[in-house]
Symmetry: C2
Subunit: 357 residues, 2 copies
């Protein structure tokens, strides 16, 4: 029990658990969920763990009309010894509160949020899949629930946590994916919401994602919304390039999501002594480097896929084939290192793991 | 009965109706709602009118996570003769489908959508308030309901229509409002979703709206997201300025919402022979025109407020007082003309009214 004494109502009949090989991303959900309410006169109250069940919301609830909402994504991993390991949960909770600030949603006590995640994962311990590459995806989110059609911040919210046992995010696993550079639609600009995790960023990206998938690409690479010539990020990942032995990634400029895995990649590279630089990156620079044979590797980083090598960057039909469409050395080593820490095969030298007893 | 034969389940006990003077914007809802389902293998199906009731949705429904949703807003007016009059509903339905296309949501048959609106308003006829300035606000919206956490277009949706008897949108009524020019946050850029009605546009605007309200302003005036120097629109309205006898409004550039009232204002002005131009407008141009005494009027247009005179534009503390903070002649005449057509005091010479028998 945590110090927060969340009420717990246990489900009567547990669901069958999917087999490891059936696992996909975000298709199955566990037996219980965490729910907490907010009212502007009471603050956050009534945190409880209840059977996984539908939400019952007035059709005028502001979430349906004005999209005031934030979310997070993190994972719990099972070690071979049966330990349950959370990867950098405080980073996600801090980002949740930064998202809250931007979206005019009341902040949540970080200790309470962490206690809620831990308590729910502890209860759902049997749902954490054990095979390598699988994990329990944790999705905390907040939605505006006041039934009112005026455009203003809601006076009522729900904070919810649901859990989903997951396999690989990409069908390709850790094999290289093909990415299309998006030149028509834009994801975000400084002054907008691109650097926080809110629904609208993803809704606006779907049209480009559909266009890319129709041509056989896994995701799109977004350019900046101002000049459409600087690299920003991939659909659900931050992005890294290795040129002339140096790893570069777009600097956090107000429209790029500050990924927890992005930050972990940078820390690991620094620890290895690999030069890594956060700066503006022109698309043109990548094209030139590729032409001159200096674009050695490209890969994405994110909670869902951890590290995802990029085998092709396609700019309006021109294909930049990277590293013979094979997984690069740095990407492979980063994947092994970060997942090694996550699953407990490697020492947690960065102090990233939060254990659940 | 329409040709669509929507199922109708009548409510057992009707709610008390608010008195005219109690009416606000979007606080009260009628006894019934329209709901229709979409499944990717069946298309849109099962349109029905049922008692107004909470939606029951899986917490993994995509609307809560990736914000795939669109909405519309239009009004039904009661004439003195007891007629029920819809204002340009086909324009709203066409825009709904343009929003659908941008947000990867399946199109709805426009005739079916119009029939659903009419049938629901007919059933709720007693809910249409009769006093001048009041009306029945109609809110059609579509939400993504597939329970799945992958970032992709949903395979399931709900199309819902709810109705709300409304009074004035602004506390000020048709008195001039004070508007703050927003110079930090941005609403939209070309290539984003600014020209369609989707939740994310409104969610991202709340922080600027709160900042403006805290300083006593009714709304913000958005500048373009690229250069932050061109006028775009006000929070929930398009915007017009009268300079040297000519009325100007920002041209539709891919990031501005093409308002139905905006279009009606332009048509009425043309009919009157008042010069009206859609073009880029620099904020600097307004400041200069004001300094030289040539900024004669400013007003917003939108379904909620119809015409809303702007008495002050505040740019980082510098107040441009317009027309002595009084309602201008053009704004007043436009308000009287457009509401005159809406309520049936004036001839419907533009063929804008769709009657409900």
């Amino acid at each position: 029990m945590s110090q927060y004494n969340f009420t717990f109502s246990e489900v009567m009949t547990k669901k069958p658990k999917p087999l490891g090989k059936q696992l996909q991303f975000g298709k199955y959900f566990t037996d219980h969920m965490f729910v907490m309410e907010y009212h502007h006169q009471k603050g956050w109250y009534d945190g409880k763990i209840i059977p996984y069940q539908p939400l019952t919301l007035d059709p005028a609830s502001m979430i349906f009309h004005y999209g005031q909402t934030v979310f997070e994504g993190l994972k719990a991993y099972k070690s071979k010894d049966g330990e349950t390991r959370l990867f950098r949960p405080k980073e996600n909770i801090n980002r949740l509160n930064r998202s809250n600030a931007r979206m005019c949603i009341p902040e949540i006590d970080p200790d309470l949020a962490l206690a809620a995640i831990k308590e729910l994962v502890r209860i759902e311990n049997d749902w954490i899949p054990k095979q390598e590459g699988t994990s329990l995806y944790i999705r905390p989110f907040i939605i505006a629930t006041e039934p009112y059609l005026g455009v203003s911040a809601s006076k009522q919210y729900k904070f919810i946590i649901i859990l989903s046992p997951v396999g690989a995010y990409y069908k390709e696993g850790i094999n290289p994916v093909r990415i299309a550079v998006e030149t028509e639609y834009i994801r975000a600009v400084k002054g907008g919401t691109g650097e926080v995790k809110t629904a609208g960023n993803y809704a606006s990206s779907l049209i480009a994602q559909e266009k890319a998938e129709a041509s056989g690409f896994a995701q799109v690479l977004w350019l900046d919304g101002h000049d459409k010539k600087y690299i920003e990020e991939v659909g659900s990942m931050n992005v890294f390039f290795k040129i002339d032995g140096e790893v570069i990634t777009p600097e956090l400029n107000g429209s790029i999501l500050p990924g927890v895995t992005r930050n972990s990649v940078i820390e690991v590279l620094r620890d290895w002594g690999v030069p890594v630089v956060e700066r503006k990156i022109l698309l043109e620079e990548l094209i030139t480097a590729h032409k001159e044979g200096r674009l050695e590797e490209a890969f994405g980083s994110g909670t869902a896929a951890v590290i995802s090598p990029i085998g092709e960057l396609n700019c309006n039909g021109e294909a930049l084939i990277i590293n013979n469409q094979e997984t690069g050395e740095i990407a492979k080593k980063l994947y092994e290192t970060i997942t090694g820490i996550q699953y407990g095969h490697l020492e947690d030298k960065f102090n990233w793991i939060d254990m659940i007893e």
